[in-house]
Structure formats: C-alpha cells, structure tokens
C-alpha cells in the first residue's frame, strides 16, 4: 500500500495525526496557491484552513483514481473562487472606496512597477481567468491535462488561456526588467 493511500485510509478512520501530517506535507503549497490567487495573505490563510477542514470532512468523496494532492489543489482553487465571488459583491457595494485604493496601487506600466515587480506581484496583477492557469502551470508545475481536470474545463480552453496568460506574463516581466534570451543574444551578437 502506498504512503498516500495509507494517509487517505487514516483520514477516513478519523485519525487527526494524519490530518497534521497532511498539513505538514501540503500546507505550504495550498497556502501559496491561495496567496497567488487571492492576492491577500489573511484571506489565503483562512482558505487554507478551510481546505484542510473540508478534506478531513469530505475524505470519503475522494475518488479512487484521483490523487490527494490534485484534489487538495482543486479544493483550494474552488475555495478561492468562492472568496473572489464574495469579494466582487463587496466591491459592488463599496465601489468608491475600492476604486480609490486601486488608483493608488502600483500596476504594470506605473512608475514604481519596474523597481518593485516580483513574479508574484506580476502574477497577482493578471486577470483571474489567466492567473489560475498560470499559477497551476508555473507554481504547481501541472500539465495542461491536469489543469483541465483541476479547473473542470476542456483542455482546449486551458491551452488558449495558458497561451494568452503566458503572453501577458512575459510582457509584464519584460517591463519588470526580465529579458527575452533570444532577443538579448541577438543584441550581444550585433
């Protein structure tokens, strides 16, 4: 029996030490994914805790052919989507205040962007539909088929989202001081 299957069985029997072990193994990954998707550390911490509580409660729903990690990440993405939906309602209610805050933020093309741009800040600035695939591809190192399964979307959709997202990401990275290797080599040769 594999270590993962053993952990699943222990979780099914209500073993709390298995839950701790699960958090030690995947806790950081879940939290970091949530931070990148939500752009808010505190919300991401709440989401991470909710995800592990959900796993403990719903472990019987885990299908035999699905890996525990993939299930955890899918739950994290879904929880983040739920939070984002709630946040958009709030945005609708407190529009003015948020618009003021957005005006003061550093975004792509702004003066402070090139200095302060980190990969996470660039990813966080992407629209959610691209941010999800970019996080799963670059941070979770997932293949297109796995992303499609996690987000429950067709592979073709994921492919085009990833293509568009990568383009946006790379444009922002260039603005943040990154270089296109081919371009740079071309310049140094000339």
């Amino acid at each position: 029996m594999g270590a993962e299957q053993e952990m699943i069985d222990r979780l099914r029997s209500g073993d709390e030490s298995a839950l701790r072990q699960l958090m030690e193994r995947y806790g950081n990954e879940v939290l970091r994914t949530a931070v990148l998707l939500l752009r808010d550390r505190h919300l991401a911490e709440d989401v991470s805790q909710d995800v592990f509580i959900d796993v403990y409660r719903k472990i019987n729903q885990l299908k035999a052919d699905r890996s525990l990690r993939a299930w955890l990440i899918a739950m994290t993405v879904n929880r983040c989507r739920e939070r984002m939906r709630r946040a958009s309602w709030k945005r609708l209610l407190f529009r003015e205040r948020l618009e003021e805050e957005a005006g003061a933020a550093i975004g792509p093309g702004s003066e402070g962007w090139a200095v302060s741009a980190t990969i996470q800040s660039i990813i966080m600035a992407l629209p959610l539909r691209y941010r999800e695939v970019i996080v799963l591809h670059y941070y979770q190192d997932m293949a297109i088929a796995d992303i499609a399964e996690t987000l429950d979307e067709p592979e073709g959709t994921i492919k085009s989202k990833l293509q568009r997202g990568r383009k946006l990401l790379k444009t922002s990275l260039v603005e943040g001081g990154w270089r296109d290797e081919a371009l740079f080599e071309g310049q140094s040769n000339s």
Binding site: E16, L19, R20, M23, E24, G27, N28, V30, L31, R32, V35, L36, R41, E45, S48, Q49, F52, I53, Y56, R57, K58, N60, Q61, T118, I119, Q120, I123, Y138, Y139, D141, L169, K170, L173, V174, G177, W178, R179, D180, E181, F184
Partner: protein, 112 residues
C-alpha cells in the same frame, strides 16, 4: 544577474519568492482543534448502498401502506351505512326546526 523569460527560470524565481509563505503551527493547531470539535451537522457519514436502498424502500412503502389501509376502510360499507342510519334528521314543523330524536322521545314502539 540577468533574468531570462525561460519557464524553468520563472518557476524557480516564483518558488524562491514564495518561500517565506508558510502555514504556521498556530494555523495547523486551529485546523486540528476544529477537526476535534467538529459539530455533528458538519460530519459526513458514509452510508452503505444496502442500507440506503433499505431506507428508500421503507420510505416508499409507508405511503403505499397508508393508501392500502384507507382503501380497505372505504371498502367496508357497513360502518358508513351504520353511521348514516344513526344520524339524526331535522324536521320543520310549525315554523320551527326540530331534531327527529327529540320529537320521538318518549314515543317508542312499545307505547303504540
């Protein structure tokens, strides 16, 4: 150091940046505490197929049994007929309404 737009470099840089984001011991404790004192309505139970099927059959059987019982009661005319014969009737007489039983009080067949 020059940074290039290669996937593995982007991935590595992202991992390095996210390194300080960690699930703390306090957060893990909070999760464990919640798991330990989970309210009963949050607990999911695994119901075996056989038990679920038996429960469904039972739920379906109750209305059928009630319907069959009612059908049986309706099919016994003697009870209803008896009730009908025992019912008192109203009689209009001299501008007033009287119960038949009141009028016949004291006028039994034996008095004739």
């Amino acid at each position: 150091m020059r940074r290039y737009l290669k996937d593995n470099q982007i991935r590595k840089a992202l991992n390095d940046e996210m390194d300080d984001v960690r699930l703390s011991e306090a957060q893990m404790e909070r999760v464990l505490k919640h798991a330990k004192h989970m309210p009963w309505w949050e607990i999911e139970l695994r119901i075996p197929w056989s038990a679920a099927a038996a429960a469904l059959l039972l739920i379906a059987a109750i209305p059928i049994a009630v319907w069959l019982h009612l059908d049986q009661v309706e099919g016994e005319p003697s009870i209803l007929a008896q009730q009908e014969t025992k019912q008192d009737s109203l009689i209009a007489m001299g501008g007033g309404l009287y119960l038949e039983s009141e009028l016949l009080e004291g006028w039994s067949d034996s008095d004739d």
